[in-house]
Subunit: 177 residues, 2 copies
């Protein structure tokens, strides 16, 4: 399973590609950051994010795209830009028919560190260890993108089992109704 993780942002949009399956060692395929100048017009920044994401999709052909789920509750000053960058990432993936999964920051932290309240350093340290890298990826947005991809690979089997159970339950209900 090859997953592109996207930590959305207008100034720095983290991107990381991880390959593997749950329960086996994972491999980092690529990591980077799509940047847009903060003094550019919003529309042009969104076009630059689109171009960057398209390049990553072209180059690495992921089977899934995992994007951080954005909440409006915290970080009010930057949340709109984050929501807008995440929309562009989801749009690029969905246009190509690539399934998009959303994971919350605490799901991602819990997946890679065991705690939903882990700090950035802890996430970076675990990403480094899990992908057997020489040093933590910089900046933090890049490490977070890799953590999202790892989270998706590890959660996907459980999510699929859940979806199958829900589908089976619906079929059963349909039959007995």
């Amino acid at each position: 399973m090859r997953v592109l993780g996207v930590d959305p942002g207008l100034t720095r949009c983290g991107v990381g590609v991880v390959e593997g399956v749950a329960g086996r060692p994972l491999t980092m395929i690529g990591v980077g950051v799509v940047r847009t100048p903060s003094d550019a017009e919003l529309g042009h920044r969104l076009v630059a994010v689109e171009r960057g994401i398209e390049q990553w999709l072209d180059e690495h052909r992921p089977e899934y795209v995992a994007v951080e789920r954005v909440f409006s509750q915290h970080n009010v000053s930057t949340v709109m830009g984050t929501a807008q960058a995440s929309a562009v990432a989801m749009l690029c993936a969905a246009r190509r028919g690539i399934p998009v999964a959303l994971h919350t920051p605490s799901e991602v932290k819990a997946a890679v560190t065991g705690s939903g309240r882990a700090d950035k350093a802890q996430v970076g340290a675990m990403v480094t260890r899990l992908l057997r890298l020489a040093a933590p990826p910089k900046p933090a947005d890049a490490a977070d993108a890799l953590a999202l991809a790892i989270c998706h690979i590890w959660r996907a089997p459980a999510q699929n089992r859940l979806q199958q159970a829900v589908a089976a339950h619906r079929t059963l209900k349909g039959r007995t109704a």
Copy 2:
């Protein structure tokens, strides 16, 4: 000046095209709503919004696109979808090199009714009058999109004068520095 106004939303994205110049009677060229099913996946909904906006741009070739500026403060439950739909509208326009302007809801209300706190019915009534329509456009999202376009046509001369003044001031400062 031909302006496409966009009242962004995932379930209903209002679109309206108005032509005219400040101080002269305005003409409605078209009005409508881009809808996406609320049970569809987010990525697919964003692709549907993109397709809808692209059709309006293709058909009406506006010189400007005016989008409602989204705030994270109010309407927390729907604000993320609104921000994401607005990102798609801005992206579509910027990709074609069409200038994008953002106007706040109170700027739009003040422009068409004289009060930044006018209600939906008042905005609908004034849009109907200003565009000499037989009845208020339905749903409210469609009327709001027309109000955005009207607001842009009326505010544009002032905005351009301001931008020219700022540019002139910068040039002057550059010379005297």
